[in-house]
């Protein structure tokens, strides 16, 4: 399976994703430069975390106009697998590949810590290796992860099982206290209509090695690899 990790100016988790795919998953992986317009060589595109273009205007607002994003949109429209992590999620929202928008964390501060998220739908390309309701321990690191969307969108997301991850306590309880950033309905990750596009604020690449304190992030990588293989 060949992954492409998209590099925008200001991305800063691209090397982390590359490291995990290459050294831990032992799959093929290349960097995809933001000016590249052909992504046909890849089975899965990763939009990594960071501060694309400094995130000075709005998170992801400038990156979405990168030439590569048109290719990413076409790739997604044809059913290609796309995962946006943190800033990558924000870019997918700005690009309209996922619904909704991000606000600043209610604390108004950047937050970096391990968080617990509950798998709300284990029947997706991204979570099939996890159990429904399984609690994953995965770090978050963001200043704007406060997801919001209008009522109709939220209803549709819930109805169609497209809310994939919710912030929860260690016991799996979804509570206001377990919500680190004010995200509506404790939403930590959502999918697009075809489930092939996935955006999430937690960083699975930071929880993919024992030595870093958790391997729960591996479930997400392993899910997409299993999905790809089952598709043949």
């Amino acid at each position: 399976m060949r992954f492409g990790v998209v590099v925008f100016p200001g991305s800063n988790c691209e090397m982390d994703c590359h490291h995990v795919i290459d050294k831990v998953l032992r799959e093929d992986v290349d960097y995809v430069w933001h000016q590249q317009t052909d992504v046909s060589a890849y089975d899965c595109l990763v939009l990594p975390g960071g501060f694309s273009y400094g995130d000075y205007l709005r998170c992801g607002a400038i990156a979405r106009f990168s030439p590569v994003m048109e290719a990413v949109a076409d790739f997604a429209a044809e059913g290609g697998l796309v995962i946006g992590i943190c800033n990558g999620f924000q870019i997918l929202l700005e690009a309209g590949l996922l619904p909704g928008a991000m606000l600043r964390n209610t604390s108004l501060s950047f937050i970096c810590r391990f968080s617990s998220v509950r798998v709300e739908n284990a029947d997706t390309p991204w979570t099939n290796a996890a159990r429904q309701g399984q609690v994953l321990r995965v770090p978050i690191a963001h200043g704007e992860g406060n997801y919001t969307a209008d009522e109709a969108t939220l209803a549709a997301l819930a109805e169609e099982g497209r809310i994939i991850l919710r912030y929860c306590g260690e016991d799996g309880e979804v509570t206001a206290a377990a919500n680190p950033n004010g995200s509506v309905d404790n939403i930590a990750g959502i999918c697009g209509e075809g489930f092939n596009v996935f955006g999430l604020m937690p960083h699975p690449e930071r929880a993919s090695e024992e030595i870093l304190g958790s391997t729960d992030g591996l479930l997400i990588w392993e899910s997409v690899m299993a999905h790809y293989r089952s598709r043949g």
Binding site: P9, G10, F51, D55, I111, C112, I211
Partner: protein
């Protein structure tokens, strides 16, 4: 011109020197350049003779002081570059941008040497949080560090934060960065090769931070003076991130001869230092410098606009260099060339405005300042501590200590920093040292910063030795062998004999401790004039220690790892409450003598601990320092979520055993069956092991002195800072 040199802060003798060097009166631009390059900040004219006693060599030191950062060989073809510096004054003016640009500057020092920056650590000192101004400065500094460092994708993995009234008028923002590189990528800030191009990369130049007060005073005030007000430097981490990637790519492709960042004194400093180090001259045309606004040559030469680099490039590689910068979206232009001789010639639209020997700028005057032992020392050192009445509720004292600003949990701060990006942080903040794995090897670096200014105030020589010993001890507790150190020396006005005496004694302590412990000083920074309204801060030397962990599996944290382990104290506890946090908090005193430090004992205790860890005997280790044994034990319990039941057999008073900050001690855990082996290891080094009891349960019980629930202690420690910040 006579008035101008004074306004620029030059002395009459210095002005005469300039005339002697040039054989004529300097131009205004030249005078501005000399005033900056010969300022204390750039020239180290007061500190240089004192710093010369620091040990700087070891077989593994690849680069000592004098370059942008120090570099040590860590084996396997890799090297680590690191340095610490101060951004005190800019942070006091505008805390967010001051701290942010501090990060920017220290990070540039690291990748300028060819290393990828892998971590930052920030020692911070503030006044009392009871003051709204201090709360504002604190929040601003922390947000600035987070805003800049997080955007760069460089984890902030450690640091320390102390609050004391002595910083009410002058906060300290020190920053340390560390990077890793393949040895062959090492590059220096040197211009060589006559005919090579001088390339300016990065942000356009504006009037940022133009010279501060001295230059402002030199400007003629007229209707445009409001616009000419020196503007605060604003950080642009996005451009810095592009600079990091572009520079590392240029070095990887072997396209550069020399690389230098632009910091204090901007183009003046970068050109003169690179030329002087390379023993060459340089010819610069300032009209080629990309500007953000209209500026004259004087302003361009001294602007401190951030996120700029100077590269020396062979003509045949120039196109590829410019193309690489373009690909990263970075402005890059040729502003001049390397010439024979040692003259720095600056042109402005073809007209020569500067012609000075580069070396004369880079090596300024040197002063032997007067030093005199300050009068306060006798008074504070002779304070009678024996007569103090101690409180009887020791549980209360312990909780008060860990809910005070200095010893409370700093989670609220480090969770604002991305401390995980790059996937190297394998011991997170909150332990004695941060541990960063070196990918592709089984090794890791252990890094810690330390500097208790209260000790240094009470005894500049001994207190500074403690800073070295404790930074090394922190590295040891994490399982590392200390290798080398950097430092930032924050003092008051060096022209005052009492302050300069503090400085000299402190550096003597640093030198003696470093020499004795065989730790080369590979880089550092001096910050003088840290005072306001004539009151200086406590002398505050801060040490940054880097150590090597040979195999990742021997890394340790402070946390009690499980139940049923033996808890032991390595090293002796003495009746030493002088300078302690206890004395400050309970009795409101900063007095007495700091704890004694015997460097021979220190080394023995540290090698015992390292050996115990290496052999798998010691399972957790925590340096025993501020707050004494009681606070150390509490921290071990909180970090591990495990209690302990302990008994102490001591002739000391309870408060002395619990809260004395005696040096050369570790709290360790080990299996019962290994106790004999540890005692043998220790005995062969004349070190005592005191078995105190066992881990287990949900309470910390120390004889009939302390009995507290772990959950309660955790809650008290964790909620304290948030409460203090609310005022």
């Amino acid at each position: 011109m006579t008035e101008l040199y004074e306004e620029l802060g030059l002395t009459e003798d210095e002005y005469r020197d300039i005339i002697r060097i040039l054989g004529r009166e300097p131009s205004k631009v030249e005078l501005g350049m000399y005033s900056l390059m010969w300022s204390e900040h750039c020239s180290y004219k007061s500190s240089k003779p004192v710093l010369s006693q620091l040990p700087t060599r070891a077989s593994y030191v690849l680069q000592g002081p004098g370059e942008n950062a120090g570099i040590i060989d860590i084996g396997g073809g890799l090297a680590a570059a690191f340095k610490m510096e101060s951004h005190n004054h800019p942070s006091a003016v505008e805390p967010y941008q001051g701290a942010a640009t501090g990060i920017g500057g220290i990070v540039r020092d690291i990748f300028t040497m060819g290393a990828r920056p892998i971590a930052c650590l920030d020692p911070l000192r503030f006044g009392s949080l009871e003051s709204p101004r201090q709360r504002y400065l604190f929040s601003g500094v922390v947000a600035g560090i987070a805003g800049y460092g997080n955007c760069l994708g460089i984890p902030t993995v450690g640091g320390d934060i102390y609050f004391d009234e002595c910083y009410d008028g002058n906060i300290l923002v020190n920053v340390m960065a560390i990077g890793i590189m393949p040895k062959e990528n090492l590059i220096r800030g040197q211009a060589t090769g006559v005919g090579n191009a001088v390339v300016l990369m990065g942000n356009r130049t504006g009037r940022d931070g133009i010279g501060g007060a001295s230059i402002l005073a030199s400007q003629e005030f007229d209707e445009t003076s409001q616009e000419k007000r020196p503007s605060v430097q604003v950080g642009d981490p996005f451009t810095e991130k592009l600079l990091i990637e572009a520079c590392l790519e240029l070095l990887e492709k072997n396209l550069l001869v020399g690389l230098q960042d632009l910091g204090a004194a901007g183009i003046s400093c970068a050109c003169s230092e690179t030329a002087a180090r390379g023993g060459v001259g340089m010819k610069i045309e300032l009209k080629n410098v990309p500007l953000r606004e209209e500026m004259d040559p004087f302003e361009i030469m001294i602007s401190e606009s951030q996120e700029r680099m100077l590269a020396i490039v062979e003509p045949r590689k120039l196109d590829e260099v410019l193309a690489t910068c373009e690909r990263w979206g970075l402005p890059a232009v040729v502003i001049g060339e390397v010439t024979e001789g040692d003259m720095l010639e600056i042109y402005w639209y073809g007209e020569k405005v500067v012609e000075v020997p580069a070396s004369s700028l880079a090596s300024g005057p040197v002063y032997e300042r007067a030093a005199e032992r300050p009068a306060y020392l006798d008074e504070v050192q002779s304070a009678d501590l024996a007569a103090l009445e101690h409180p009887s509720d020791l549980n209360r004292v312990l909780l008060d200590l860990v809910s005070g600003p200095n010893l409370c949990d700093k989670r609220l701060v480090y969770e604002q920093y991305d401390h995980m990006v790059q996937l190297n942080t394998v011991v997170y903040p909150g332990s004695d040292a941060a541990v960063l794995r070196v990918k592709g090897t089984s090794k890791a670096l252990a890094v810690s910063v330390d500097g208790n200014s209260r000790y240094v105030y009470l005894d500049p020589y001994g207190g500074t030795q403690i800073a070295v010993a404790e930074a090394a001890r922190n590295v040891v507790a994490a399982g590392g062998v200390p290798m080398a150190l950097t430092n930032c020396l924050n003092f008051g006005n060096p022209e005052r004999p009492d302050i300069f005496w503090q400085f000299k004694e402190s550096v003597r302590g640093l030198a003696d401790a470093a020499r004795h412990m065989e730790l080369p000083v590979v880089s550092g920074n001096v910050s003088f004039y840290n005072e306001s309204f004539g009151t200086a801060i406590y002398p505050t030397p801060v040490v940054g220690m880097v150590g090597l962990i040979g195999t990742l599996s021997t890394r340790r944290t402070i946390a009690f790892p499980e139940e049923g382990l033996v808890v032991a104290m390595l090293g002796d506890t003495l009746d030493e409450l002088g300078g302690s946090e206890y004395l400050r908090l309970v009795h409101g005193m900063t007095a007495g003598r700091p704890p004694a430090l015997d460097l021979e004992v220190e080394k023995s205790v540290q090698t015992t601990c390292i050996e115990g860890i290496r052999r798998g005997i010691i399972l957790s280790a925590h340096d025993c320092s501020e707050g004494g044994a009681a606070v150390a034990l509490l921290e071990c319990c909180c970090a591990g979520g495990v209690g302990a039941t302990l008994e102490v057999d001591t002739p000391l008073q309870p408060v002395s055993w619990l809260f004395s900050e005696s040096q050369s001690r570790f709290v360790v855990t080990l299996r019962e069956e290994d106790l004999g082996a540890l005692e043998d290891l220790a005995a062969s080094r004349q070190v005592r092991v005191y078995a105190l009891g066992r881990t287990g349960g949900s309470r910390l019980i120390v004889g009939d002195w302390i009995d507290l629930g772990v959950d309660e202690m955790k809650a008290v420690r964790e909620e304290a800072l948030g409460r203090l910040l609310k005022g």
